[in-house]
């Protein structure tokens, strides 16, 4: 079979181009680390790749959200602990006062407990008042002192939103912890009762009267119930903290799994790509030499 010179050159040039194209593909693979550069090249795996990337993106977001929720709940936990300590110290003060019959230090301790409670409830983390419920933009307790607490109706003492639910996983919400009113409305009512008792039963200074003693016995009992309610909120908060911590881990696992799936699809095998690049470069050299020889064919040397 005869072969025309132009046809031969075309065949050799196509071979040269193919070798160049293959080498370029390998070089892009090595520089990007990706098997392919377009969705089309992944074929049906493109859908899996997009889904896996979506899971990675959302799992990352929920991991961040769950971490933020955990931080919020932990901050609340510290606040609840401080309030619990204030209640326990108040109960100890009541017991001591009843035991000694001397109420000289009673109200300073109540004042101190009230201020510590307000400070614990108005704590903010990153600009968010964690006991403000869904609305954490303003301090949830409007009063600062025992006197202000006593002077303000209970319904106006709290400036807060609804009890918050926090998204920690795809479709999973956990309790966002107690609001200021959930944690301390009973205690604040008790503070107001103290103030009213002072008005009705006379100032708590010096030795206790029988009426004052009877009031303190009842108040100590009510503080016990308030403490029990607070412990229940602490339990719920601890449960939510555990849920948030678990969610952080589950989100990380989901992200890691999705990243493995995505990597299996899109990551190039570096060793294979390097080997193929070497072959392609040899092919380029060979086809370039053949093409050069073919294009130098001339009759001039023979004439």
């Amino acid at each position: 079979m005869r072969v025309s010179d132009l046809g031969l050159q075309q065949i050799l040039f196509q071979g040269f181009q193919q070798a160049q194209g293959a080498a370029q593909t390998r070089q892009i693979q090595l520089s990007s680390g990706d098997e392919f550069q377009t969705y089309g090249e992944y074929g049906a795996d493109a859908l899996r790749l997009i889904s896996a990337e979506g899971v990675v993106t959302r799992a990352n977001a929920f991991e961040t959200a769950a971490s933020a929720a955990l931080t919020r709940l932990e901050t609340q936990g510290v606040g609840l602990e401080l309030i619990g300590e204030a209640i326990n110290e108040l109960r100890a003060t009541f017991s001591r006062t009843l035991a000694t019959g001397n109420a000289e230090l009673l109200f300073p301790d109540i004042e101190n407990a009230a201020q510590r409670t307000v400070a614990a409830l108005n704590v903010d983390f990153g600009g968010v008042f964690v006991f403000g419920g869904a609305d954490g933009t303003t301090p949830p307790v409007t009063a600062a002192t025992l006197e202000e607490i006593a002077a303000t109706p209970l319904s106006s003492l709290f400036n807060e939103g609804d009890r918050l639910n926090l998204a920690v996983e795809e479709g999973v919400f956990i309790d966002g912890g107690p609001r200021a009113s959930d944690a301390a409305s009973g205690l604040f009512a008790e503070f107001q009762t103290f103030a009213e008792a002072q008005e009705a039963l006379g100032p708590f200074s010096g030795n206790l009267t029988d009426e004052q003693r009877a009031f303190l016995v009842d108040a100590a009992s009510r503080l016990g119930a308030i403490s029990d309610a607070l412990i229940q909120e602490q339990g719920l908060s601890a449960l939510a903290q555990g849920q948030a911590a678990d969610a952080v881990e589950r989100n990380a696992r989901a992200r890691d799994l999705a990243e493995i799936v995505a990597a299996d699809i899109e990551d190039v095998d570096i060793a294979e790509a390097l080997s193929l690049l070497n072959q392609d470069q040899l092919a380029i050299q060979a086809s370039a030499q053949a093409l050069a020889q073919a294009t130098q064919l001339s009759l001039l040397n023979f004439i």
């Binding site: 979506g54 959302r58 929920f62 609305d135 918050l164 639910n165 479709g171 919400f173």
Partner: protein, 452 residues
């Protein structure tokens, strides 16, 4: 003396014949790299008159192409041209998606937006988180719009290209008609016709028939004459919804195009024009519908979820949609985008004030990442990628096939330098031999004249 004259004439005819053969070989060598050149062949014939003359004559002819290879080559060129146009258009649309990992495509951008809403649900008081969620949602619908715009641009570009290539096809058809008038008289006209027909075959699918005198008739696949010895036609393209290719006769004398047109869209199935028509009438509309459907389903899902949300202090659900659909475009509600505080992310219960920006509503939007509409968006991205990839692979296969056929055709009608070298030596030696005979006759004449 009569015998010497016969010998002289015979040698002279051989001299002239081989001179033409050498000239033809030189032309072959000079055109070794000319794409549409068919090599010239020297065919020698005995040319004798008894007792007077016993010489040779030569006919220089174009090497005939294998007709089967040639028509198969035209069909392959047409297929390659069509698939090239389709692959280019779809690759441009695919480019609007960005590379995998860039997260520029609408499916990944939606995932980013849903992720931002997830973060917002954990920080419902944060204006910054609201702004990020809105911006990401806007980016997702911008990505939808970018791909829709890319598809629309490709339709426009295809229309412009069809106009250009239709004009080129018309020029080639007129050229073929003109060359048909002179092909029997001029050898070069045959090469010019081949070149014109070959270029035409890259523009649309044609069937070609040849007369013995070299004249060609070019017709559509269903036999409607495009150009022939008797006249030629002109193609026209109507853009818009119809995307129709029409054919009309041209008066060869005046160049006036007849107003009577025939719709040949259905038979123009290959060539660059056929490919462009196919991509703007079929391929791109299908992809556009898939993307628009995904965008609409996503917008509906988001708006339905958003309609159950409430703003700060509201006692009822949001009344304005989050995603506005207008004139086929999608965008985040401008008033909400301008003031992120308006974004309703609470979920009121039992008519109670939502009041407090509980992030449950944002969480409900984030949960749409698992909704069927998200799958539809991912599927649309995959569909575009797959269409582009398939078109690219088909183009590569068609080009290989067309190149192979072209190489085979060239093997028969192209120039081979080794062959030309041996022919050249052969013709030169024959030329020299004839020259020696003439010299010998001359010596004999001198001898005879001296004797006299």
């Amino acid at each position: 003396m009569g015998g010497l004259t016969v010998a002289l004439n015979t040698a002279l005819s051989g001299l002239f014949a081989h001179q033409q053969a050498i000239a033809a070989t030189s032309e072959n060598i000079a055109n070794v790299n000319s794409a549409d050149f068919s090599r010239r062949e020297a065919n020698f014939f005995t040319d004798a008159i008894p007792n007077q003359f016993a010489g040779v004559s030569v006919e220089i002819a174009r090497a005939g192409s294998n007709r089967f290879l040639q028509s198969a080559g035209f069909a392959a060129q047409a297929d390659a041209g069509a698939l090239n146009a389709i692959a280019d258009a779809l690759a441009n649309v695919e480019a609007s998606l960005g590379a995998p990992g860039d997260n520029l495509d609408f499916a990944n951008a939606l995932n980013e937006a849903y992720a931002s809403f997830a973060q917002l649900s954990a920080a419902p008081n944060s204006i910054a988180a609201r702004a990020v969620a809105i911006a990401d949602l806007d980016a997702a619908f911008n990505a939808f719009s970018r791909t829709l715009d890319a598809i629309d641009s490709e339709v426009s570009a295809s229309d412009a290209r069809i106009e250009t290539q239709t004009a080129r096809a018309n020029a080639l058809l007129e050229n073929i008609f003109i060359l048909n008038q002179i092909v029997s008289d001029e050898g070069g006209a045959g090469d010019a016709i081949d070149a014109a027909v070959r270029e035409l075959s890259t523009l649309l699918n044609i069937s070609v028939s040849r007369a013995d005198d070299g004249r060609v008739t070019v017709a559509t696949a269903d036999g409607q004459v495009l150009a022939g010895p008797g006249g030629f036609s002109a193609l026209s393209f109507a853009g818009g919804v119809s995307g129709q290719i029409a054919l009309a006769n041209v008066d060869p004398e005046t160049g006036v195009v007849s107003s009577a047109q025939t719709d040949i869209t259905a038979v123009v199935t290959a060539g660059e024009i056929g490919g462009l028509v196919q991509v703007r009438n079929s391929e791109l509309p299908v992809l556009r519908a898939a993307v628009a459907n995904a965008a609409q389903l996503t917008a509906d899902d988001i708006n339905n979820a958003y309609a159950l949300n409430a703003s700060v202090g509201a006692t009822g659900p949001a009344t304005t949609p989050l995603i506005v659909v207008a004139n086929g475009g999608f965008s985040v509600n401008a008033s909400i985008a301008a003031d992120p505080a308006q974004l309703a992310i609470a979920r009121p219960t039992a008519g109670q004030p939502g009041g407090a920006n509980d992030g449950s509503g944002a969480g409900a939007i984030a949960a749409l990442g698992d909704a069927p509409s998200a799958g539809t968006a991912a599927d649309a991205v995959t569909q575009i990628g797959a269409a582009s990839q398939i078109a690219g692979e088909r183009r590569a296969a068609a080009e290989v096939f067309a190149n192979d056929l072209e190489t085979r055709r060239l093997s028969e009608s192209g120039v081979n330098l080794d062959e030309e070298l041996s022919n050249l030596i052969l013709f030169q030696r024959a030329y020299n031999a004839n020259a020696r005979v003439i010299a010998a006759v001359d010596e004999l004449y001198q001898t005879v004249l001296n004797i006299l």
